[in-house]
Assembly symmetry: D3
Homo-oligomer: 247 residues x 6
């Protein structure tokens, strides 16, 4: 039985990674996962937060936002409301934590890499797309630091990608689109390294609690999806920059 | 090999649940898990948030806070800083979501139950203690509604408790104290129902990514701990109110 | 003619002071005045606000808050609203000012003592209970500093306690409960030292202005009540720690 | 022994009340007490706060602010800082409470009178000058309502004025200027009605606690000063409008 | 003498308008002016602000923001800082006002069109590019309303575009890039209609005040540039949607 | 054809500049333009913003505010709302920019001059009155610095004044009162130097776009008005201080 968009349960949506999407940042990647599109930029800043000062060690952090009309109905800007929602905070903490897990902060030296994930179109899976795209932007920023001789050794310990899985109408599915996500009984985000280990598992029973066997199914789907995403990350690393940066 | 406080890897800290800790709320529970202490109160409010108005269905939501000196060094109040931290938002969203998963909101009718979890002493596991304690406060508030005839049927679908598990010095441990939590390689919070199903799994590799077999170990420890906690919840339901409420 | 709770006009409600209510702070006192309960903690911080830097002199300051369901109807958290109410600011300024009046800030040295007064149940007189309880927590924190040799001389100049008085149905009453406070014609808070001198008098005619003779009556009641409270503060100083800290 | 500005201990500074200082508000008074100058305006608004809706009763409330350079060094604006200080909140709550004490809110009908007290020059006693000036602005606004037939009966129950007293170098003084206020041992603000009754007494020992006889001295000075201020309020009610409004 | 990028004084940078840049909004345009790139979306919302309720008339408003790394150094997000800068407010008020000037709000009916201008890369002239791009998005949104029969008559009164002019090293220049803008002696933004009339002129002498003849030069350059921009707006209206929307 | 208040199209309202309006600031000017009245004070602060530190150069900046009842209906205070409106930000940025254009910041030395413009009565043209008045306050503050020998050379490069012009009922008018401003088809603010050069031109078609010949008319009216205002600024510089400062 096919999904609403013709996919099999174990199929990812079409994924496209465009490096150099904008010209200024040290890393700038547009990730498209089906209709979900996120601009992920990496900025190197030659300072660290207070709690890192004088430690010789660096920092990697993330911020996440959506354009107001990334979604079907317009969301008021968090800048106009004067504060971040809990959802935004939760997501940007997740992205930052995930990326730090594959960086040796000592090798990075006393500098910060900011990963800005700005969703320009949202169709489910924006947080996992952000992680997958931000990893590529991070690699570009690190290569920039290596090329300029600012760091000697590559601080990136492993590759990283993320995907959502879930249960919809009783079926375990890979990479939920909004249509599926909005009625999912279970929603789970999984972040894994190139070595096939878990960095984050966040599973929530939206409606119906789930058992151990179901969990196993979710994790198998996630693992499969993440391996495919890592293949695309590698392919993107070989190719040039996207439509906007050629102006 | 024993833990720093003499416990075995699979042992919970001493747990105490005091119902009726304060007199005013519909439910008021002090939960103590080792040195971690949280006041969980349940308040029934005869209105619902905007998005529930006119639906005939109710709402369950949670707020979480720490007294400034619940921790070794004093934390500035979020009310003085003028905004909630990401950590607070993340935790209170988790508590609310977890409790909603065992409530039939339609049977609750168009009213809100607020669960306020105020940590008066923090020694690791405050969010899981909050869930375990808030569930008991919720039960008391629902019994209050049933006793007053405001609802006819019990809207609580299943029991609920939560525990942390993690990996410290390479060993999988149940119910981390702060001493352990602060150096954990993996930190995982698990919320389960009385039927032994998962409501939330949030696992984070703080330092070293983890594999599938480790995950299995964590989940077994969590399941064991949660069954014990549910025994204590049941026992607490039989007994009267605590030291403060007898004044 | 007896009051609604059986007290005489000149009678305090039952008072209980529990030292060591929580284990972490340098001073931690639960004060119960009838159904009013406040956790007062004292934290020593080895730094001072900007305006005290380099003066060799210390600082004593207070913060006050209520749990949302300390009252009959739930109050939204000030942290969620993003700002303190005028009432909270007024009260915490009063507490801080009162306690500073009995401390020689030079003898304290360049450090701050924070007094956090968190109301867990409110039944009138929370600000005066906070002052009376915070004084005991302050004494414990100062003893801690003396014991560790961080200060040589005791900077506390005199003892301190506070009580409310007021006029209800034309009668001058000591220590108003909420039931009385809410319909008081005059409401007055008095803070006095062990030497019987005034530190603060704040009297407000809620409804009917009052004359000089009435003022005299209020002050006599207050003096009597404060002397009794000081007896209890002394008694509490002799005894051990409370129910929670024995876990 | 004379005071720094040549006054006797029991002397007020020169006081001037200019009605109609600006043209638009229903009441607009410039009060000058020595070098302290406050613009007090009264605005009638044909609505009430939520808690008064449908009660048939009105509301009187106050707001207080200082121009940034009303003082010797420039204070950042509270609007730029994004929040009111505790001092401002405390003062505006006092002004509002004091004025409500002489208004029969039922006779006012379901409308609000806003009293805005904006200090354009500060030399001590701004809160008591605000009360004394705001009372005159309130009278003008009420006369406006009577003249337009919007209310039938005068809701003002009594006249009202306020003054500061204090102890400086061991001497009880009336109406402290900033020079005196900044080194006062005791600082007290007293609000009284035309009938010689107290509406507010707020006395603070800044440095040295005070006894009953001293309190008596303070209150006698205050009573004398307030009677003089009430004479000036009456005189102002007879005369026309000030320099600015004649343009 | 050529400009730093080879342009003549009277030359625009290359301009590209991509309609349908994202799929969800009623209008979605990517405008590129040299290296400056702005996503302009138009959202139709079937409600109006309070001050328009019940008037039968609609509203057009704009919001403006920059991605943090649209510029050479990363700017902290306004959502993280908790408030909009003066610059942002000024710009979004300008965009909204400009677009309202060519819309008959009565013909729009009681609905709002939001124009969101999000700068993804900034190289000077972001506010004028926003206006020029937002106009095209507005046209698409209006066509959508006409096509759905929600409005009968086209409420757009005239076309609209904007450009910057300025004086750099004594020379009047059209369409300043950041390199020029940052050292301009005069900076002027001009908004005009298709009929060649002015909607906004905002000229600022950054350094050296300017005379009437110079003003005339600026306005001639602006008029020429705006006519060219209007040609491109018309051309864009004929063609399909851009790279992202074809996925 | 005369205007609503009897003026000709090219006539200013009566203008009065009172120096020394309050006693404390280095410059303090009350400017009255018809019924519009603004207190403009200049404060010298011996420090500079971060971005000027160590440059040897100073800063001039402005803040603008209105008393709540400066207008026909009371506006809530921005300090109570917790943020500045866009209008306020726009105006205070304009005032600061305009005044900086006639100051040699290097000659000022590393200090800041704050110009606070507080509108006590508003009847149109408050931003231009603020600029015209603030210039006089600035001159007084600079003279204070010269007199005290803190600076050697006068940093003021030229005089400065501002006026509004506009089109009402098809006629170009100088110095719009609120009555005219509220129905203007075009509204333009012009700031000029003593040498007859433009510092700022901000013209907005509120309703009907305007052509080049109209623009020329507006600018001629503005130039005439500004020359008259400069005459009054010079006259004010000769005379003493105003009504309030003589107390």
């Amino acid at each position: 039985m096919k999904r609403f968009d013709g996919r099999e349960a174990f199929e990812l949506r079409p994924v496209k990674l465009t490096r150099g999407f904008t010209n200024i940042p040290e890393g700038s990647v547009l990730i498209e996962v089906g209709q979900t599109r996120v601009i992920c930029t990496a900025t190197v800043e030659e300072k660290v937060p207070l709690f890192k000062k004088g430690t010789g060690s660096g920092w990697v952090t993330a911020e996440y936002s959506m354009l107001p009309r990334a979604t079907q109905t317009r969301n008021p800007r968090e800048s106009s409301k004067g504060k971040l929602t809990g959802r935004t905070m939760e997501i940007q903490r997740l992205i930052g934590r995930a990326l730090r897990s594959v960086v040796d902060l000592k090798k990075l030296g006393e500098r910060t890499i900011w990963l800005d994930c700005d969703v320009i179109q949202a169709d489910g899976g924006t947080r996992t797309a952000s992680i997958t795209g931000a990893y590529v932007a991070l690699v570009d920023a690190v290569n920039h630091l290596l090329a300029k001789g600012l760091i000697k050794e590559n601080p990136i310990l492993d590759s990283l990608a993320a995907v959502s899985v879930g249960k919809v109408d009783g079926m375990a599915l890979l990479d939920l689109a909004y249509e599926e996500d909005s009625k999912a009984e279970v929603d789970m985000n999984v972040v894994m390294t190139g070595q096939g280990k878990f960095v984050e598992i966040q599973g929530t029973a939206e409606d119906i609690p789930f058992g151990r066997e179901e969990l196993d199914q979710f994790l198998e789907l996630a693992e499969k999806g993440i391996q495919e995403l890592m293949g695309m990350q590698k392919a993107a690393a070989q190719v040039g920059t996207g439509p906007l940066s050629q102006n």
